[in-house]
């Protein structure tokens, strides 16, 4: 099967600065992929190269297995801070975007209206974009990116600049779009990534350091621990003394590295049972995506 998008050895070098360094990955049709990394990791440059704005220093981009010179018609792109001609109305802008992206002139106005309704700008479509708030601009940005029904949506930090309400609204739109098209979006907010992602790409200083599904990456970096909270410190101390496994004890809490030989929740619970130690809570903890993020792209 050919991939929707195949990126090979993509590099962008400005002077001696490698903003993107031999990035390779594939995107399958119908999936959502999150490009994750701290500021300055090369997320925007990578997306700009895919959008055709920035010419790569090196590497190739194959769309449906072919290296077409211009794939801009098959792509919808939303920059982090979309800028619009302030004198145009939302409808005029979206219609223009549709025609320039190849929508039939007779269809463009209808498509533009439909798309603006979809992103919730139905009432504001006759207003000039110069009067729009940040949240409205983001939604208009989404509208211009999808009005021509692109096969691949590239979104640069689509919700980072929004307040919690606006963020929820845009996230809901994206989840709906996820059903219809392939999405590659960058973010540094991991909750978003957790919410709609089939594949994660971790960028650090222009290098793709990790690439996989949420599950595989979780498993790799999970570092599971069993955490027990006792009624009192004395009980915690007694448990630590008789435990056959290495434990860490902090006041009433005891944590056990679950990757040790013979450790499992049944064993721990049965030990607690036979010793009849009163507890408040037993839980299996896995690393949050945030901890993984710190480990993969920040540390070292």
């Amino acid at each position: 099967m050919t991939h929707l998008l195949q990126v090979n050895d993509l590099s962008k070098i400005y002077g001696s600065h490698r903003v993107a360094d031999s990035i390779s990955f594939e995107l399958e049709a119908g999936t959502s992929t999150a490009l994750i990394g701290p500021n300055g990791a090369g997320k925007t440059t990578t997306l700009s190269m895919l959008a055709g704005l920035v010419t790569p220093t090196n590497g190739s981009i194959l769309f449906r297995g072919q290296s077409k010179p211009d794939i801009r018609g098959s792509i919808g792109y939303l920059p982090q801070y979309p800028k619009f001609f302030p004198w145009l109305t939302a409808l005029e802008f979206t219609e223009m975007a549709a025609v320039l992206s190849g929508v039939e002139k007779t269809q463009a106005l209808t498509e533009a209206k439909k798309t603006l309704e979809f992103v919730g700008l139905g009432d504001a479509m006759k207003k000039r974009t110069g009067t729009f708030s940040g949240g409205m601009k983001q939604r208009l940005g989404l509208a211009q990116a999808i009005v021509h029904g692109p096969e691949l949506l590239l979104l640069d930090e689509p919700v980072s600049a929004l307040d919690p309400v606006g963020r929820r609204q845009v996230m809901n739109l994206l989840k709906e779009l996820q059903q219809k098209t392939t999405i590659l979006y960058s973010t540094h907010i991991l909750n978003d990534a957790e919410e709609m992602t089939d594949q994660l790409l971790f960028l650090r200083k222009g290098v793709l350091v990790e690439n996989g599904s949420l599950e595989t990456i979780r498993e790799k970096y999970a570092n599971p621990r069993i955490l027990i909270e006792f009624e009192s410190i004395a009980e915690a101390e007694r448990f630590a003394a008789i435990s056959p496994w290495a434990v860490e004890k902090v006041k009433k809490h005891v944590s056990i590295d679950a990757l040790q030989e013979g450790v499992g929740t049944p064993e721990v619970v049965s030990l607690l049972h036979t010793e009849s130690l009163p507890i408040r809570k037993v839980e299996l903890q896995t690393a949050s995506l945030e901890e993984i993020f710190m480990k993969v792209v920040v540390e070292e």
Binding site: S48, L53, P79, Q80, K83, F85, L88, A97, V99
Partner: protein, 260 residues
């Protein structure tokens, strides 16, 4: 083709909504009306306000209507050109700097059509302004001086218009190439400073765009070297085509400089 139409409509809307479609013609027409009036009444004005010593009687040169066309043209050659440069220096560079160009450049549009949409609309506004200005002057010249034949006026306007198109093309090509400030500086050098240089040391060459205004004035009777005139027209037309191609190429090459 439909992209060019769409881009032209965008330019049209822009120039209406930022008032350039109105204020630029008004400015050129005001100059066109003022020129014949001030020239006609200047002797009287000087007489009434100037503290001329008793008995001093200046001999004012006897101006013909044709001379007023030429003196209006020299106004346009300085103030007019400056207005054109300042009004349109950011046509392309400004869209890159503000980032409004980004959402155009990520679409499958041709940079040739993008540049052409600017070139056509700016030329339309500027040529209309220049022509309206001269027409207004023509009307006043007929009242205050003498009537000037249509044949001479249109020959004059035709030749001068080619210089105007050249000036617009220079500004737009530089705007595609450089930042707004750079485009303004270099345009002023090429369109205003070169004019002065050509006026001072230009006797050594005859075929240049900077002499087109002089050749245009020769429509009113003063003789000009016909061969040099037509070669200047050919050279200017060729330079316009080259600058358009250069502008298209630069708009594309600088696309990555748009603010993301």
């Amino acid at each position: 083709m439909s992209s060019l139409n769409t881009l032209l409509r965008k330019e049209w809307r822009e120039n209406i909504r930022n008032f350039k479609l109105y204020w630029i013609p008004i400015v050129f027409v005001i100059f066109g009306v003022l020129e014949p009036i001030t020239n006609h009444f200047l002797p009287e004005i000087m007489k009434s306000v100037g503290n001329l010593p008793e008995g001093a009687d200046f001999l004012w040169p006897e101006l013909r209507g044709e001379d007023i066309f030429v003196s209006l043209m020299s106004q346009y050659q300085t103030i007019g050109i400056l207005v054109i440069i300042l009004a349109f220096m950011g046509s392309i560079s400004g869209e890159r700097k503000s980032g409004t160009a980004t959402l155009l450049y990520v679409r499958p549009m041709s940079f040739g059509q993008y540049f052409l949409s600017k070139w056509i609309s700016v030329n339309a506004i500027v040529l209309a302004s220049v022509w309206l200005g001269f027409f207004a002057a023509w009307y006043y010249i007929r009242i205050l001086f003498n009537s000037v034949g249509a044949g001479e006026v249109f020959t004059f306007l035709g030749t001068y218009s080619l210089w105007v198109v050249f000036a617009v093309t220079v500004v737009l090509a530089f705007s595609a190439w450089l930042s707004t400030g750079g485009a303004a500086g270099l345009s002023i050098l090429v369109l205003l400073v070169f004019q002065i240089i050509d006026g001072v040391v230009g006797i050594y060459w005859t075929v240049t765009p900077w002499k087109l205004s002089t050749y245009a004035a020769s429509a009113f009777g003063s003789s000009a070297d016909q061969a040099a005139y037509w070669m200047s027209i050919g050279l200017t037309a060729a330079l316009i085509i080259l600058l358009v191609l250069f502008g298209m190429y630069m708009a594309k090459r600088n696309a990555a400089k748009t603010l993301v």
